[in-house]
């Protein structure tokens, strides 16, 4: 392992030994440092001038970030296993939101429990209906991803990698413009009916008990983590296994994010003309909850199940995995199904947040999620998650405090910066997490 790392570094170091290259490199690094300092200064000033507005923007960014996370997970999983950047992934996301649009507006499926038990409380109907809608979209998108893999990518698996990449671009265009046909999705902007009604919570409307429970969850998971770690260090195998268990991860992720968001929105302060009065909508909370839950479920599948083990094996070495009796084709198809399913869930959440669907809606979120996956280290699941949160914040904070029209330029230039200073992404390619 050490040997390969030094080898890699030598390769990376090699061109820098040329003199002109060195000067240019230093110059660009200096420029980036300057750029970074200016950004930090602008954001810092905004934070001090109006902390309430700044934190509201952070909350806005979380909503976007969690949606990107679900899409980015698909990119990263598929890349991890077949080394393919699936550019059609954003369009799978689009198909997912249309699937939910039809399920809601035409089939009325978000109210199905009320058909069976008309007396059911409307809140319960809403919850079950929303979950149903998400599951339908996940199924449709997962199926689409599997079909796509079977017909477009599998025949090219042993061909040069560029062939599959170009095919992916072709599949992406096909899905977009097939969707634009008048008898498919049409090329109009369609208003989306949400599966549930929007409520906005601000200070006073969030029960302190809920906030307390979230903090409790966070504290318990952290305490459990540190206790397990000390035990694991002393060689307890069981503790080591529990330390990696997704349940623990769910505890601190869910508890941590909800405690953070609900606390920010739950307090009301007024001093010296400045008001701290943040609000958070149930859409944001649903997006956060669903995204964390699905992320942890994915981790569970990857680390705790037979399928996950097969996926990791196939990602590591397809031929060896096949020799060990693993059905690699099936494993790859399931990876596409999982990735597509997550994109479908993201599609429902995105359409619910923005209340509009159209045939090109997958392009920009898809590209941003791709950038997020690269920033986090493509192939790494926690990396995709973290990268997506960084993308969400970059986008909203640059729209809020630097320049709205420039926000996409700024978030995409983040990709260039990360690739220059950190070519492997934040989480690199840790072998254990690779899928």
């Amino acid at each position: 392992m050490v040997a390969t790392q030094t080898h890699k570094e030598q390769i990376r170091e090699a061109p820098i030994q040329r003199r002109d290259g060195m000067i240019l490199n230093q110059l660009s690094q200096g420029l980036f440092a300057l750029f970074g300092l200016i950004v930090v200064y602008i954001l810092g000033r905004a934070l001090f001038e109006n902390p309430g507005l700044f934190m509201q923007q952070v909350l806005n960014g979380l909503e976007l970030g969690f949606i990107y996370a679900l899409i980015a997970l698909g990119y990263t999983m598929i890349y991890g296993i077949v080394k393919l950047i699936n550019f059609a992934h954003g369009d799978v996301f689009m198909v997912g939101s249309f699937a939910s649009f039809y399920a809601i507006s035409i089939l009325d499926l978000h109210r199905w429990p009320a058909w069976i038990w008309p007396g059911m409380s409307s809140t319960l109907v809403m919850i079950i209906g929303t979950i149903t809608i998400i599951l339908i979209s996940m199924f449709v998108s997962g199926l689409l991803a599997v079909v796509m893999e079977r017909f477009a990518y599998r025949p090219l698996r042993n061909k040069p990698r560029i062939a599959a990449l170009i095919t992916a671009i072709g599949v992406s265009f096909f899905l977009e413009y097939f969707g634009a046909l008048p008898f498919v999705f049409t090329n109009n902007y369609i208003t989306y009916d949400r599966p549930f009604d929007v409520t906005v919570y601000s200070a006073g409307e969030i029960s302190p008990v809920v906030i307390g429970v979230m903090w409790g969850l966070l504290v318990i998971s952290l305490v459990a983590y540190f206790m397990l770690r000390t035990q694991a260090k002393s060689g307890d195998m069981k503790a080591q296994a529990w330390l990696r268990h997704p349940l623990l991860q769910f505890g601190w992720l869910f508890g941590g994010f909800f405690a953070f968001v609900l606390t920010l929105a739950g307090i009301h302060l007024e001093s010296g003309g400045k008001v701290w009065d943040l609000s958070v909508s149930n859409v944001t909370l649903v997006i956060m909850g669903a995204s964390i839950l699905l992320q942890v479920l994915l981790q569970f599948v990857v680390t705790q199940t037979q399928l996950g083990k097969a996926m990791r094996a196939a990602a590591y070495d397809k031929d060896a995995a096949r020799l060990m009796g693993i059905n690699v084709d099936l494993v790859i198809a399931s990876t596409f199904a999982l990735g597509g399913g997550l994109a479908g869930a993201a599609g429902v959440l995105y359409a619910t947040a923005f209340k509009q669907v159209y045939y090109l809606m997958g392009i920009i979120p898809g590209l941003k999620a791709f950038v997020a996956a690269v920033i986090g280290g493509i192939g790494s699941i926690p990396g995709a998650f973290l990268g997506a949160l960084i993308m969400g914040q970059t986008e909203v904070l640059s729209a809020g405090f630097i320049s709205t029209p420039m926000r996409d330029a700024i978030s995409f230039s983040l990709l260039i910066i990360v690739l220059l200073v950190w070519p492997q992404g934040i989480f690199g390619e840790p072998p254990g997490e690779k899928v």
């Binding site: 509201q56 090329n187 929007v198 909203v396 809020g400 709205t404 029209p405």
Partner: protein, 378 residues
């Protein structure tokens, strides 16, 4: 075998000759309707086509224009410059059209006007409100280009005047798509008139046409807490912005322009908002009520301003052709300049810049219905 080939050849030849006769014969007069029939403002295009078609059918029933039946040539120009230019070239070069009704969007009408001027074709845009549709960069009026609607400066002024005088607003936030000539025009003229009248624009934020997430800008609006939120974009963007503004808890009164006039405007999230428009169905003038009835009979729904202006544009064009007594675009343009028209959207005369002089109406969205509030004359 040989004889069969020969027969086919003769038949094809005969068909070609026949079709050439049909095209070359001057029994019909071709008029192009260029409108966005698909995309993010599809309802505008469909209304425009329906309105203009109704006018053409009426003239044809009366015996046509200059004794010829009018034949509409409809093309989808998609509200964007490239598609609009290729549609304009197609109707002029392939179909031999000398008169164009369209486009809806200013950013498509401006490039079409350049093609039309270069090829000597008369264009009348029903609804493009940006000043540069009829006036070139050199400040000279484009001799063959007209419009049937008032222009952005007037609409922006009317909105600002209404906000200041009737809504007693002191502060306003303006959100605009910087890449759209129409939206930018309205926003800038609103800002100038609002500030000239003593108001203050506290938030001025631009976005791009691809944006879906407005949370960052709207948080700033919420923080500034203005009286008015002016969003002069098309309905598809307004739906997005209004829904998100609601969720952010923004209480400012929303206002917009004629881009809001669509069946697809989400009337629950824009409840209580005002917008400026070209006409109101509540107007008691007989010509208005007659038009609404005719439209309802044919299409089964109330005409929006887009359909009305397209109907007006077609009527203005055909009336001027009758007056000129010829289908030479230059002579028709000269006749149009000096005429007065009584059409559905009001009494129209043309000023030196080919803009109609006519009043605007303010409408309010309330409980899912659109109500007439008042008329503001120039």
């Amino acid at each position: 075998m040989r004889t069969r080939n020969l027969l086919v050849l003769v038949l094809v030849g005969a068909m070609l000759a026949l079709s050439a006769c049909g095209g070359g014969g001057s029994k019909t007069l071709k008029v192009a309707i260029l409108a966005p029939l698909s995309g993010n403002v599809a309802t505008f295009g469909q209304s425009t086509r329906d309105g203009a078609t109704l006018a053409i059918e009426e003239w044809n029933a009366k015996g046509g224009v200059l004794g010829k039946q009018i034949q509409p040539v409809v093309e989808d120009s998609q509200c964007n410059a490239e598609a609009a230019v290729s549609a304009a070239n197609k109707v002029i070069d392939q179909d031999g059209v000398k008169f164009i009704i369209g486009e809806v969007c200013s950013s498509a009408s401006i490039p079409i006007s350049e093609v039309a001027m270069a090829k000597g074709v008369l264009q009348i845009s029903p609804t493009s409100t940006n000043p540069s549709v009829t006036v070139g960069e050199d400040g000279k009026t484009k001799s063959l280009i007209f419009r049937a609607c008032f222009i952005d400066p007037f609409q922006g002024q009317v909105a600002a005047k209404f906000a200041l005088e009737d809504l007693k607003a002191k502060t306003a936030a303006v959100l605009l798509d910087q890449g759209n000539d129409y939206v930018r025009g309205l926003a800038e003229f609103f800002r100038d008139s609002f500030e000239a009248g003593g108001g203050k624009v506290v938030v001025w934020e631009t976005y791009t046409g691809e944006d879906n997430d407005f949370s960052a800008i709207l948080s700033k609006v919420k923080d500034a807490n203005p009286d008015i939120l002016y969003v002069p974009d098309y309905y598809s963007k307004v739906n997005l912005i209004a829904a998100q503004a609601r969720e952010k808890g923004i209480t400012a009164t929303m206002m917009g322009g004629d881009g809001w006039d669509s069946e697809d405007l989400d009337r629950t999230v824009t409840d209580g908002a005002y917008f400026t428009n070209h006409y109101s169905g509540d107007d008691p003038r007989p010509i208005v009520q007659d038009w609404i009835k005719k439209y309802k009979d044919k299409y089964g729904s109330e005409p929006d301003a887009l359909a009305t202006l397209a109907y007006d544009a077609a009527n203005i064009l055909f009336t001027a052709m009758e007056k000129a007594g010829t289908d030479d675009p230059a002579k028709v343009a000269a006749a149009m300049e000096g005429m007065e028209f009584d059409v559905v959207s009001g009494h129209i005369t043309y000023d030196s810049k080919h803009n109609p002089v006519k009043p605007a109406v303010i409408l309010q969205i309330k409980d899912g219905e659109i109500h007439f509030v008042k008329t503001i004359a120039p």
